[in-house]
Amino acid sequence: MATTTTAANGQVSPARSLLALGATKWLWVLLAILALLPLIGGKTGLISNYTFLQLSLMIVYAIAVLGLNLLTGFNGQISLGHGAFFAVGAYTAAILIDQAGWPFWATLPMAAISCFIVGYLFGLPALRLEGHYLALATFALAVAVPQILKYRHFEGFTNGVQGINIFKADPPFGLPLSSDQWMYLVVLAVAILMFWIARNLLDSRTGRALRAIRDQPLAADTMGINTSHYKAVTFGISAVYTGVAGALHAIIFEFVSPDSFRFELSIAILVGAVVGGIASLPGAVIGGVFVQVIEKYADALTKKITAAIHLPIDLEPWTIYGIALIVLMYTMPMGIAGGLSLLWKRLKGS
């Protein structure tokens, strides 16, 4: 598995990287370390299976956030409903594994295809919507998702409120890995592939068209860019990213149910994108890590804060989430990635 990962690395063309040249080298080193983690940590028992699950979830959310990043950050279309595409991907994977007995890896392309179709179709009417109206339509989508999943005629597939249980795959060829370590490597490989595709896409003619549409829709149109085509396709591609993340989530979490895809999920993806940095690939990674860390530690953190400032009520994590969001909009509207690069420029400049 480690070899596959390096193969994916090898295709990164350093010259056109969005990162600086020197940083690319460090990116390789980082990826190599990440890929070797199961050998180092797993064998010596330094890193538990539970930690690998957490790491996998971070990577999964990073892919989901990247999907929203492509749409909102690079194409300027605001979506508050990406949880819907996450759900489509997750259910596609779960249904194919549970009912058709597919191996887990084969469900990923299917999740991508179904999400592209759903995303493209949703993007078509969304083409006529701008700014707030699009946010409104996707908001409605996000709120309605659990109910759509519970729809009676889908129950044969979705198993209704109960959801679907699936089982984690064991590593193939008798590799000396636990299933959590194996899934971690799979998720990592998928993530590297998808980030690499995203980077090349953004560096291409298409990527420039996307950004032109975001910055000057009218000028882009006059320059001969087929705005509506690009916008709908971007919606589809964005849904593919978030949907594949959903499928991976279902596979490593071994369970899907309508109530795992409530409005909060869409907000979490949005928060990840905004906190990480809305038009930045490293930002998507930061956002993914943030979403998982918050999900895991927010409760404890909130309790500490409540105790520290002697509040008479038990604050809930989402209050902190909300305040953090608003404060961030004032202090670092380009997210952590944007803030860091600004800081870096200042340091280099002085």
Binding site: L136, L270, P317, G322, I323, I326
Partner: protein
């Protein structure tokens, strides 16, 4: 037939609440061009405030205006403190701030009052009257209060200098400013009014749906749908739209039920309320974004 009348009547009652919420959304939209995603949670929070006052023994006819006033102040301060610095910020920042407000109000209500369902007594007397088989006293109360509120707002905007100033600020901020209208404060006033209207809507709907932090999700969605159907730039239209989607919601469930009885095929029912709202929202936005009564905005290129 009797059932149909009943459905329409209760649809009108729900519609009254949607109309209030739609009106609150329009208040903010016409003056700032923003769609307030936190409107539902703000209304929910106000409903909790009202409940708390009632628990402390305040009579409802004092509690309701008091909460409306308090919500007005909260609305004004949100605009002045949180949104004011973002007047020239990109749209995404504003939307994100709204989402932040939504989560704050939602979780604060949960933290302060807990997540268990609370009973909220209806402020209207339980009397029987001709036709009370079709519609309950609380439902009539909701409709009457909404209509009174509308009338008051209409009078405010039509006959008072302040109302005129607010309309001017919304229609042409630059000229209004030159004519001596303090546009910034007019925006804050719009926010305050929206919050107060939302408070009335929340307190009125709480007895019908029980009080809990999630109570506004579907109501807000129908408020959006109502505002869009009527035209999000037209206050009167939004109210009409609210009533329309209220009736539509019940009729769709009613005819879905009939269909199931007649053919045994379940198409749509009460479990699909949110999906119906989603379909209404998307249909209106795609086919007629200006709504039934809104005016089409022409953008100069």
């Amino acid at each position: 037939m009797e059932q149909l009348i009943q459905q329409v009547a209760s649809g009108l009652a729900n519609g009254a609440i949607y109309a209030c919420l739609a009106l609150a959304l329009v208040m903010i939209f016409v003056s700032t061009d923003h769609i307030n995603f936190a409107q539902g949670e703000m209304a929910m929070f106000s409903a909790y405030l009202c409940w708390q006052l009632l628990e402390w023994g305040v009579t409802v006819w004092i509690a309701l205006p008091a909460v409306a006033m308090l919500s007005f102040l909260i609305g004004v301060s949100i605009e002045r403190v949180i949104l004011r610095p973002l007047h020239n910020a990109p749209l995404l920042s504003v939307v994100v701030v709204f989402i932040g407000l939504l989560t704050i109000f939602h979780s604060l209500a949960g933290a302060i009052w807990g997540h268990t369902i609370k009973e909220f007594a209806s402020p209207f007397p339980k009397v029987t009257f001709a036709g009370s088989g079709y519609i309950g006293p609380h439902q009539i109360g909701m409709i009457v209060v909404t209509l009174l509120l509308l009338l008051a707002l209409f009078a405010f905007f039509r006959f008072t200098p302040l109302g005129l100033a607010m309309r001017a600020a919304a229609q042409n901020p630059t000229s209004a400013r030159l004519a001596g209208v303090r546009v910034d404060w007019m925006l804050a006033l719009g926010w305050g009014l929206a919050a107060a209207i939302g408070a009335v809507a929340g307190s009125l709907v709480a007895p019908a749906v029980y009080l809990e932090p999630n109570m506004m999700a579907s109501i807000l969605l129908y408020g959006f749908a109502g505002a869009l159907v009527g035209g999000i730039s037209s206050p009167g239209g939004a109210v009409a739209g609210g009533f329309i989607v209220g009736v539509l919601e019940n009729l769709i469930a009613y005819f879905g039920n009939l269909l199931e009885k007649a053919s045994g095929f379940y198409l749509i029912g009460n479990g699909e309320k949110l999906s119906v709202a989603l379909i209404i929202v998307i249909t209106v936005l795609t086919l007629k974004p200006s709504g039934l009564f809104g005016h089409v905005t022409v953008k100069r290129v």
